[in-house]
């Protein structure tokens, strides 16, 4: 996949071991520095900094309204932070168009399903390939030669994702008619179709039962393992977060109140007070 093309880069940098579970990460791929964002009077984010290393699964947790989704939106170019910089593979930016971010290899899923309701599952996931489509409008209209071949190639790729996510049966179903949980899967599929280097997941497991969460975890872990995709994950299910993430950032009222391995975070009194509560 795409990350392979950068294999050389990665090879130069000595892999680092994460503390604990023996997983290996590369260098910092995404570095968020001093981000602040406010809407009128509401301070959604205040001076947030954290980094994400290549290959790792980085979780963001925090109470409702802490600013987690907003943080992803900043990385994504949907919101433009008033302050701070975001560095992605050595390139720094604060204001970036969504398209540019996508081109650089960042994909994402949404908390409130943002699927294309009127399109089939297949088409939804195919849109994830659009960045890579080269044939022009005329070729597409005629659908001859290169255009058709290209379409086939992407179709095959997307079919692999469909197989992987086990949604073969719904290929042609309009996504609007799918139950919520499956829509989340399609959302993931669309992001995967972009062959991203960094995958931002906003509560991908909300509205699922344990078994389905297990499936989702498996997808995320597989992607992370097999393609080396870096994952940034927002999730409220502590079981999931603690089990699969390598490092966790904790936000509360727009501020960072914790950052570290799951165990460190779990032990932090501030985090317990603000988010986990004593029952955990």
């Amino acid at each position: 996949m795409n990350t392979m093309t950068d294999a050389a880069v990665i090879a130069q940098q000595a892999p680092q071991a994460s503390p604990g579970n023996g997983r290996k990460f590369g260098n910092v791929i995404l570095d968020v520095k001093n981000i602040s964002l406010s809407f009128g009077g509401v301070k959604a984010l205040t001076d947030i900094s954290f980094d994400v290393r290549e290959h790792e699964i980085r979780a963001i947790i925090g109470p409702n309204g802490a600013g987690k989704s907003s943080l992803l939106n900043c990385i994504n170019g949907v919101y433009q932070p008033q302050q701070g910089t975001i560095t992605f593979r050595g390139k720094s930016f604060r204001h970036m168009k969504s398209r540019q971010v996508a081109e650089m290899g960042v994909a994402r899923t949404f908390q409130n399903l943002a699927l294309f309701k009127g399109m089939s599952v297949l088409d939804n996931i195919m849109t994830g390939r659009n960045l890579r489509i080269k044939s022009n409008l005329l070729l597409q209209a005629l659908r001859i030669g290169p255009a058709e071949k290209e379409e086939m190639r992407h179709r095959e790729f997307v079919e692999r994702i469909i197989d992987f996510l086990e949604i073969q049966a719904f290929r042609k179903t309009p996504v609007g008619q799918l139950p919520y949980g499956l829509q989340k899967r399609v959302d993931l599929g669309r992001a995967l179709a972009m062959e991203p280097q960094v995958l931002l997941l906003d509560e991908p497991m909300a509205g699922m039962n344990v078994e389905e969460k297990q499936d989702m975890c498996r997808f995320v872990l597989d992607v992370n393992d097999e393609f080396g995709t870096t994952v940034v994950l927002i999730e409220h299910d502590m079981g999931v977060v603690m089990d699969i993430s390598d490092r966790v950032v904790v936000l509360d009222y727009g501020r960072k109140i914790g950052d570290g391995t799951p165990d460190e975070v779990r032990a932090s009194p501030e985090v317990i007070k603000a988010y986990l509560g004593t029952s955990h």
């Binding site: 949404f110 409130n112 943002a114």
Partner: protein, 309 residues
């Protein structure tokens, strides 16, 4: 200078009338998320009813008083608009809960055709007169200040005052009452509104009825100025830039929008028109509205368009 003022004034007055039609649009949109293209047809329908009944009533009752005829005709026309609202809710809206804007828009276009057909069948397609005793001839004021004075139409003035009063009333209704809030909720999400016990049917009958009465007032004033005929329905197209400029959801927006469009189009026609052969006012109105939209995509007073992931 005097002429400029006259044009300005003429524009303001025309704008007030547009605003009255626009108001109907806003009411229904705000309260149900339906862009009601039938507003023009409703104006026509109401005006036709009023015109014909004010003609028939003296014949039926033998009472020759114009006041009586007009009042009775107004009440009958109002009642008819209520029936129209009720029928529309029963036969159309009720079945289109939770559908997309485009579908609802089309349905109102269907209603437009229907109303035009019914209106002409029941009331005829000639030109009819509504005579509510508005003064027709112009008065010249400020003859001292300007050479030739400024020509003002009393009829326009009365019309504007009625329009303004209506708007003020409706603004209060929307801003201050619980029903107003429920209406806005319905516009946002039919299903959620239902789920908390708002009866869409009742709300819709109320709003369409109010819009019908607004249409009646608009039709009455317009008809008394220019006569009632089929083409009255086309004022909807004149009012469209007004609604959009003011913001689809804003009652005061309809007024301000009306004034801006009215003045804008009259000034442009009178001052720019002759340079390019004239006939520009209608597209100028649209371009003017478009210009404002480029700055504020939700119109001057419209609610901010929400796009969020």
């Amino acid at each position: 200078m005097a002429f400029f003022l006259e044009t300005l004034f003429g524009g303001l007055m025309a704008g007030m009338l547009y605003a009255l039609v626009a108001l109907g649009f806003v009411l229904i949109f705000k309260a149900s998320g339906v862009f009601n293209f039938a507003q023009g047809a409703m104006v026509l329908f109401a005006a036709l009813a009023m015109a014909r009944f004010s003609e028939w009533i003296p014949a039926w009752t033998g009472i020759e008083s114009r006041w009586f005829a007009n009042l009775a005709a107004f009440l009958i026309a109002g009642a008819i608009m209520f029936v129209v609202a009720w029928v529309i809710e029963r036969l159309v809206l009720r079945h289109l809960v939770n559908q997309e804007g485009a579908t609802l828009l089309m349905a109102t276009l269907g209603i437009t055709y229907f109303l035009e057909g019914v209106g002409q069948t029941l009331f005829g397609s000639s030109i009819y007169k509504i005579d509510i005793g508005m003064p027709k001839d112009p008065v010249i004021v400020l003859e001292g200040a300007f050479q030739g004075g400024i020509l003002i139409n009393k009829e326009d003035l009365y019309a504007a005052i009625i329009a303004a009063a209506l708007v003020a009333l409706l603004s209060v209704f929307f801003q201050k009452t619980g029903t107003g809030r429920a209406l806005r909720a319905v516009a946002d999400d039919h299903q959620a509104a239902q789920s908390i016990g708002i009866s869409l049917g009742r709300i819709w009958v109320i709003v369409w009825c109010v819009a019908g009465v607004v249409a009646l007032v608009a039709g009455m004033i317009w008809g008394s100025k220019l006569g009632v005929q089929f083409s009255l329905a086309t004022v909807a197209l004149r009012a469209l830039p007004v609604v959009i400029l003011g913001g689809l959801t804003s009652v005061p927006g309809a007024i301000i929008g009306g004034l801006i469009i009215g003045v804008g189009e009259k000034l442009s026609e009178v001052y720019i028109g002759p340079l390019v052969g004239g006939g520009i006012e209608i597209w100028f109105a649209y371009v003017l509205a478009l210009g404002f939209l480029l700055v504020r995509p939700q119109g001057l007073f419209g609610e901010k368009i929400i796009d969020r992931v």
